[in-house]
């Protein structure tokens, strides 16, 4: 297990380095580069900008600038927001937990439903349920998430008036119930795609396990259908799901961004979009880098979990 994890860790570090290179390239792609904030400031001449550039070391070769930027990134100095001058990391962390709440709720909901649907579809393969679930998942993957959000708002907030149309709390109401009511629609919208993804993967994974000899052995032992399903089939079919969960993180994170923008959910996605609107590039870059790091960490965690749960990897 040790060697396996060290290998994966090494790979992740290389990927992280490449991620930082891509990030730096994007940063320099911004109109005016890292200096763009001053370009917008009235009363600043070209000479002023050049002086600041020299002060910030932007007249140095790109490669030196890159390592300088990377060094500051590593020690947690992610720059200050153009908007209010506060440290980028501080602002992001402020918004992070709202995103994690939304993502966590949606993940929990969609894993439970998606895996259930996937197993049921595989066990009753080619049944009407299986057919509907498969087609339904395809359509769910095809619905634009933001548009589904609009439809949900129209139906449940505007027409039926059951749930709030957006944001995270009603002003002046801090109750848990109020939080939950605000959480329902974004979770529903974000989960649509996730349930579809999970159910499709789980169905395929279960079908693969169903065909295997040890399932026949388990039946020949006289075990109950439930025990064969849970203890032997599902237990094995879940293993590849862990890796998939890691690989699906960017999609889930992207979905959260979309849901947040439609429902004005005060998370990282909303902050990201606002910051783009204000040309607040340090924050934009910060979120971009943080989400990539988050994804890589998620993948590493998935590898670790696989190593723990799969005895064949544990000893490799």
């Amino acid at each position: 297990m040790g060697r396996y994890l060290i290998g994966r860790l090494g790979q992740s570090i290389i990927v992280l380095f490449l991620v930082s290179l891509i990030g730096f390239m994007i940063l320099n792609l911004a109109p005016g580069g890292p200096l763009s904030q001053f370009a917008l400031t009235p009363g600043m001449s070209q000479a002023d900008i050049q002086r600041i550039a020299a002060q910030m070391g932007l007249d140095r070769p790109l490669i030196i600038q890159y390592f300088d930027w990377l060094g500051r990134l590593l020690v947690g100095d992610w720059g200050d927001s153009f908007r209010d001058g506060r440290p980028v990391l501080e602002i992001i962390i402020e918004h992070l937990w709202a995103t994690l709440l939304l993502m966590g709720t949606s993940m929990a909901v969609s894993i439970v439903i998606g895996i259930g649907v996937g197993i049921a579809g595989a066990v009753r393969r080619y049944s009407v349920f299986d057919y509907l679930a498969t087609v339904g998942a395809m359509v769910a993957l095809s619905i634009p998430t933001f548009w589904f959000g609009l439809v949900a708002i129209y139906l449940f907030a505007l027409q039926l008036d059951w749930l709030p149309a957006g944001s995270m709390t009603t002003i002046g109401d801090g109750s848990v119930v109020d939080y939950l009511r605000h959480l329902i629609l974004p979770t529903l919208v974000l989960s649509l795609v996730n349930v579809a993804i999970w159910s499709r993967y789980m169905r395929a994974s279960t079908l693969e396990v169903l065909d295997q000899d040890f399932v026949r052995t388990a039946r020949a032992k006289g075990l109950s259908r439930y025990r064969v399903l849970v203890h032997h089939i599902v237990r094995n079919a879940l293993l590849p799901m862990i890796t998939l969960a890691g690989l699906q993180l960017p999609t889930i994170l992207g979905g959260a961004l979309v849901a947040e923008t439609v429902f004005t959910w005060p998370g990282m996605g909303r902050l990201f979009l606002d910051s783009i609107g204000y040309s607040d590039y340090p924050v934009v870059m910060g979120i971009l880098m943080l989400s990539a790091i988050f994804v890589l960490l998620g993948n590493l965690l998935a590898d670790l979990l696989v190593a723990i749960t799969d005895p064949r990897v544990r000893l490799a």
Partner: protein
């Protein structure tokens, strides 16, 4: 062989029909045989002859997915029961109680027959706990005893091994331990040694024979290898295209096969010099096992048979004629191909 008490397993008119794309294909035709307690019947045939489907049908393990219709009688006479139980008549819950307890099965591929994510001890204990409801610790102790019984060295440390940590032979021993956990009355062994090395093969066969002597279970041994048959079986039934074509005591069949197909199979086994029939030409059997969906007219073996007579062999399926000493053969020309004294009374056919 005394048949004073009823056989442990008696199969009558077993038919299996698969439904695919709306049309029905019968793959198993009126199989019948009996196995007494302590006896081993080998079911022999090429791949595709229906041996494995037969064994799965007996265990009622042909899944709903394959849309198999199984008819006939499978009477299991457990030592603990007064009356035989027809496995095809009882409900699923009752069947599950018997499966793994009174009738057990071991499989061809020990590599894949064990669940890769559970420890072998747990997989064995699972049978014990499920069928006798013993507490965890007791089941574990029993699993340990079983591992010892099937000859696994250092059984207490192997208890916590995962299947991939064991060799093929060890894995097959674990599978056997699992099958024998409840001391079943009938054990179905579906090519249990095919996937193993020759030396390991011999060890496993010896183990099975020893265990059979100790427990007195009846064994249905499925194989395509006559070499294995001669080592383990008391009687042998040869299958071809879903039918039993010949049956008899191992020595008798090996010494003098009555059905040209059996002779052909025997001739293709190099270590048996005597193949009986004037069939030295049949070193290999030309052609292949027919597709169950389009069996040839008459005797299924007729297109490949060097003795086939047009107009006779391709008109009707020959009956399985009973001869003396429990010998049965399905061939219209049997009376020509074998000496008259072999074809003794028993006009009863099935």
């Amino acid at each position: 062989m005394t048949l004073s008490h009823p056989p442990a397993l008696a199969v009558r008119d077993l038919c299996v029909t698969f439904q695919r794309n709306g049309c029905e294909t019968r793959v198993i035709h009126d199989i019948d045989f009996e196995i007494a307690a302590g006896e081993t019947l080998a079911l022999v045939g090429e791949s595709g002859s229906g041996k494995s489907v037969t064994s799965m049908a007996l265990m009622r393990l042909l899944g709903r997915q394959s849309r198999a219709a199984v008819t006939g009688q499978v009477a299991l006479h457990a030592a603990t029961e007064r009356e035989p139980i027809d496995l095809l008549q009882i409900d699923d819950a009752r069947m599950r109680q018997l499966r793994g307890r009174r009738i057990a099965m071991i499989f061809q591929e020990p590599l894949t027959a064990l669940n890769p994510v559970h420890r072998v001890g747990d997989q064995i204990a699972e049978v014990v706990r499920f069928h006798s409801g013993s507490p965890r610790r007791q089941a574990r102790a029993q699993a340990l005893a079983l591992l010892e019984q099937v000859g696994i060295p250092e059984p207490s440390s192997r208890l916590d091994s995962y299947p991939h940590e064991l060799s093929g032979g060890m894995r097959q021993r674990v599978v056997i331990a699992m099958a024998l956990a409840m001391e079943p009355d009938v054990l179905i062994a579906d090519e249990p040694t095919t996937a193993l090395d020759v030396t390991v093969q011999a060890q496993i066969l010896t183990l099975l024979k020893t265990l059979q002597r100790d427990t007195g279970m009846a064994m249905l041994f499925i194989t395509h290898d006559f070499g294995v048959v001669s080592e383990v079986a008391d009687r042998v039934a040869v299958m071809y295209a879903g039918r039993i074509v010949e049956e008899g005591d191992v020595e008798a069949v090996l010494a003098r096969p009555l059905m040209p197909y059996t002779a052909g199979l025997l001739a293709s086994v190099p270590r048996l010099e005597r193949a009986g029939l004037p069939g030295e030409r049949l070193a290999t059997i030309a052609g292949r096992v027919p597709d169950p969906a389009s069996l040839p007219a008459g005797c299924s073996f007729q297109p490949r048979c060097t003795f086939a007579v047009p107009g006779t062999c391709d008109s009707a399926v020959p009956a399985l004629a009973s001869l003396k000493a429990g010998r049965r053969v399905r061939c219209t020309r049997a009376h020509e191909l074998i000496p008259a004294e072999e074809l003794s009374p028993c006009p009863q056919t099935s």
